[in-house]
Symmetry: C2
Subunit: 112 residues, 2 copies
Amino acid sequence: MPKSIKRTYSQYSKDAVTLLGAFIREARNERNLTAQELADRAGISRGLLQRIEKGNLKCEIGAVFEVATIVGIKLFEADGNALTKQLRHTKEKLALMPKSVRKKYKRVNDDF
Amino acid sequence: MPKSIKRTYSQYSKDAVTLLGAFIREARNERNLTAQELADRAGISRGLLQRIEKGNLKCEIGAVFEVATIVGIKLFEADGNALTKQLRHTKEKLALMPKSVRKKYKRVNDDF
DNA sequence: ATATTATGATCTATATATAAACCAAAGGGA
DNA sequence: TCCCTTTGGTTTATATATAGATCATAATAT
């Protein structure tokens, strides 16, 4: 039972989502799509698209990414995008990753 | 009244969210944080963090970005990140943007 | 091996995001 | 100017994401 769900967000997170929304809107305008048209293509309501473009933090990430993808915004390009490189590295590394995390007990080397 | 909300997502969107989640998990492990610790810092439940790391598309973008920010993943770097550059451009351009979009009426030049 | 801890999964109750239908106002074309 | 479209707000009903608790399993340290 969620007792209220009043989250706090870092300024960075807020800025990031705001910028992403603004970018979506710009891309939509550049492609001459109305809000309704883009919403239809993404399979969401116009109201949700409005909130996405406004940078509302509580929209589902799937809807946001879908809209971004449709208007041509690629978070993870095939090219030299820094994040993409890191993620590619991650993907390859995933199989080798430890499943759980342990606190590091500082090993004290006494027998010196 | 949402009649069911069964969305479809492009493969790209699914992959992007999956990769982001995997990257978050990797970053968390590299920082030796337990799921509970990271969840606490982000102000979310451990269950939600699990879904985020799994790449669940229906998590709120604010929670995802917050977690990513905490473990040091910057979607929009201050440096030469391509998306950042575009977004900076967008920000400056925002004030000049038209508020609404009009369909282009192909002007037919009859009197030729 | 044993104990301890992290993770994965399930279940319940509730807060809330969403779709849909409105309306008003702004914007752009003719 | 007038008309038509787009956008920005509501409001309402409902589907659902979330917090929190619990349990089983996996993983790690000693």
